[in-house]
């Protein structure tokens, strides 16, 4: 160990009490899946953590009917305040078992323990707290008085924030009075199954939440199931498209949170050191496995060299390695497939003429790793400026004027996130107005909060998660009766010219 090196500081796994096999969580109990079980591995070591069940179509059917039964028999009849109380219970149980969940998440996903401990799991608890309070206040959610729940919600979530995505999906659905069948991503099912144990501790009525595991075909069967009233999906734009096609012509309500290619715009008056921290947070947080990552850096030409120098300097201090180590900044890439995709696109970036630079770090022998990397001299037509890489790879482009920055930022079919770095408030407001993205961070990046709506424009999907608007995805207005014409409604009959003159004539 050299002077100023950090000693290893791994978080203990002792508080984990994992099973060797996990079944499906249907109707309040764990049951064996009828498909072929698969292993879930630690992407930092490639060691098996546990065996996970696969739900086949019959299992999907059982889960949906359990959810339907619970909806008809229990959940839709429960008062809002009682639904809220269950959600408060869940929030508290998540807090109580936070450390255990953080360790399990890091083990299964490969992300650093400091992120699961300080971001993922606290946000899970916060999400349940926030929506717990909504359950008995739905009249104020924006769908009019006495809004109705939708029924059974099918929810399919990705591997980048496994438990957090679960919370984003389940909390508003239950608060609004729906029941749920959720399918976690194939590579990150573990914490969802620990969460199922929490539901048992909370004594949530059986069938209100069902968790079924498996690969994409399980998700497809769930989405296509005719007993489902609502589909909520977070993941790639390609899969989102196919879901949008498959629900066409049905009554199913759909919300999609898909890919992104976020622009992080740094103006010449920005506080550079803070901007550099924001760039790092934007693209290297969670190994860049973030749909709203700031994967395109748009830096004003006059400060390009300065920003890149300081960025490289900062990147040299990022610590890549054991995700359970409390000092680790960059953990493991979640899967071999994802690593292959990051490598392929990065190689393509080099072939297309962009200049590649990676932080100098030791790559562990086992597991899936990718050093933090930036590409300079990137042009807007390069694949690395257009395709979502979903890894710790930043493409740097330059601009001269605010108008050029806006045009380049919007030059993508995606529209999920963007960042603006400037000391000038009026410029921030004007640029924020013109960016076609659902979430914009001014002098910050990658901030999340249960009260703050999140979701995309354009091909980044539709619907919002978080905030009051996040409830709308799980509610419909009360059925209205009678004519809805403006003229015929007696209380609001406007005085037309005709009737006015008729009155005059009557006098």
């Amino acid at each position: 160990m050299k002077f100023l090196d950090y000693a290893p500081a791994p978080e203990s796994q002792a508080l984990l009490n994992l099973k060797s096999d996990y079944g499906l969580f249907i109707n309040g109990d764990f049951t064996a899946g009828r498909g072929t079980p698969f292993q879930t591995i630690n992407p930092a070591t490639e060691q098996q953590i546990a065996m996970i069940a696969t739900a086949n179509e019959a299992d999907v059917d059982a889960a949906v009917s359990a959810a339907r039964h619970a909806y008809d028999g229990v959940w839709s009849r429960l008062s809002g305040s009682d639904r809220g109380k269950y959600l408060f219970r869940i929030a508290r149980l998540v807090q109580e078992r936070a450390r255990e969940l953080a360790v399990a998440e890091t083990l299964d996903n490969g992300k650093p323990i400091k992120e699961t401990r300080d971001v993922d799991i606290p946000l899970v608890a916060a999400w349940f707290f926030y929506y717990a309070g909504w359950a008995d206040k739905l009249d104020h959610a924006g769908a009019g008085p006495n809004p109705a729940s939708l029924g059974v919600a099918a929810q399919v979530i990705p591997w980048n924030f496994p438990l957090m995505m679960l919370a984003w999906k389940i909390a508003p659905a239950l608060a609004a009075g729906n029941t749920v069948v959720l399918k976690p991503a194939e590579t990150t099912s573990l914490t969802a199954l620990l969460f199922a144990e929490i539901l048992q501790q909370a004594d949530l009525p059986a069938g209100v939440v069902n968790i079924i595991t498996g690969d994409g075909s399980t998700g497809q069967a769930l989405v296509d199931h005719p007993g489902v009233n609502k589909v909520a999906f977070t993941g790639s734009t390609a899969v989102g498209r196919s879901i949008a096609r498959s629900i066409a012509g049905t009554e199913k309500k759909l919300s999609l949170e898909l890919g992104g290619k976020g622009a992080n715009i740094v103006f010449d008056d920005a506080p550079i050191d803070q901007a550099v921290e924001g760039i790092v947070r934007g693209i290297f947080f969670n190994q860049g496995h973030v749909c709203c990552a700031g994967s395109r850096l748009l830096v004003q030409e006059s400060i390009h060299d300065d920003v890149i120098d300081r960025l490289k300097q900062r990147m040299q201090t990022l610590r890549l390695g054991d995700p359970l180590d409390k000092n680790t900044d960059i953990g493991a890439i979640n899967s071999a497939e994802q690593l292959a995709r990051i490598r392929e696109l990065s190689d393509l970036g080099q072939q297309e003429g962009a200049e590649r630079w990676s932080a100098d770090c030791v790559i562990p022998e086992n597991g899936f790793w990718f050093a933090p990397t930036i590409f300079t001299n990137v042009s807007t037509s390069h694949r690395i400026a257009r395709d979502e890489i979903f890894g710790p790879v930043l493409s740097v482009l330059t601009f001269r004027t605010p108008a050029e920055a806006i045009a380049k930022a919007n030059n993508t079919p995606y529209g999920l996130s963007a960042g603006i770095w400037s000391d000038k408030g009026s410029r921030i407001l004007a640029v924020a107005d013109k960016l076609r993205a659902g979430v914009i961070w001014a002098n910050t990046f990658n901030q999340f909060d249960p009260s703050s709506p999140f979701g995309g424009y354009k091909e980044s999907g539709y619907g919002r998660e978080g905030g009051r608007q996040g409830l709308a995805a799980y509610l419909k207005p009360a059925v209205r009766s009678g004519s809805r014409s403006i003229v015929a409604a007696p209380a609001t009959t406007p005085e037309t010219k005709k009737s006015a003159s008729a009155k005059k004539a009557a006098k």
Partner: protein
């Protein structure tokens, strides 16, 4: 001796101008009794695409106009429609075979819907957006913005003027621009409405009206990559599931077909259907 009347040539309305269909095609519009009323332009794929180009180029100005200004313009439409009610009653009577009183009630309702929606222009943001109390030193605001270019299949049955107005007015409130395929059998009030729009300070390209066969034109709009949203309110008799599948390729926002007298009834939710919620986090200094 009776004066010989001057019949009107009914054309398309694209980019603020009144072109004939580039295809040169027309189709006969008949009265409810089967008598010849007019040759309407039979819009083509190219016309639809031209209309999308016009809608896209008008978007920046209309979306960027102040909410107060959009409200004023929409109200102006109501004013001018009021002034030309005789013409609309006449066309509705001959196309739909209803009495003048019934046609007059339809025009009343159409005018009042413009007024109702005009009033929303500077209010819907307040109702649908809000500040968010996030945990941290941030000023955080969510506001709805227009989705972009909206393609609409206008209601094909029932009251042609109300159907058209009810479909386009809510999309315009937020600052979207629209391409609308008119009622195929009763297109006259759509074409006459375009004359009202052209003189109501509605910038050219904000509303584009294509007459012709929805079955022929709708697929090109549903698959057009520069269309952001698709309102299938009047597509109930088309193969609308195919249209929805086609719209999924670019993840367009889609509203399903509606039928009956309450189709596209005036509601805030129709405005919000074609908006996108933008949330901006502003860092606060720590003092």
């Amino acid at each position: 001796m009776n004066r010989l009347a001057i019949p009107k040539t009914y054309k398309l309305y694209i980019g603020g101008k009144f072109p004939r269909s580039e295809s040169g095609r027309v189709y006969e519009v008949l009265s409810h009794k089967g008598a010849f009323l007019a040759n309407a332009a039979k819009g083509s794929r190219k016309d639809a695409r031209d209309a999308v180009v016009a809608a896209r180029s008008a978007l920046g100005g209309w979306a960027g106009a102040t909410a107060f200004n959009r409200g004023q313009v929409l109200y102006r439409i109501a004013e001018l429609l009021e002034g030309r009610r005789v013409q609309f009653i006449d066309e509705i009577t001959s196309c739909e075979g209803v009495t003048a009183a019934v046609a007059s009630a339809q025009v009343d309702e159409a005018i009042d819907r413009w007024v109702w929606y005009a009033g929303w222009a500077d209010k819907y943001v307040q109702v649908a957006g809000n500040a968010n109390p996030v945990s941290g030193p941030f000023f955080n605001l969510s506001v709805p913005e227009p989705t972009g270019v909206v393609a609409i299949i206008a209601p094909q049955g029932g009251e042609s003027l109300i159907g058209l107005v009810s479909a386009i007015a809510p999309a315009l409130v937020a600052g979207n621009t629209v391409v609308v395929v008119a009622n195929e059998n009763a297109p006259l009030s759509a074409i006459s409405l375009s004359e009202v729009l052209a003189t109501s300070d509605v910038p050219g390209g904000v509303v584009n009206i294509v007459t012709g066969s929805p079955a022929e034109i709708a697929p090109w709009l549903a698959s057009h990559a520069d269309v952001n949203a698709l309102d299938l309110v009047g597509a109930g008799n088309l193969d609308w599931v195919e249209l929805q599948i086609s719209a999924a390729d670019t993840l367009k926002r889609v509203l399903p077909p509606e039928s009956g007298a309450d189709a596209a009834a005036p509601e805030l939710s129709r405005i919000l259907a074609f908006t996108e919620l933008k949330t901006v986090w502003h860092t606060k200094a720590i003092l």
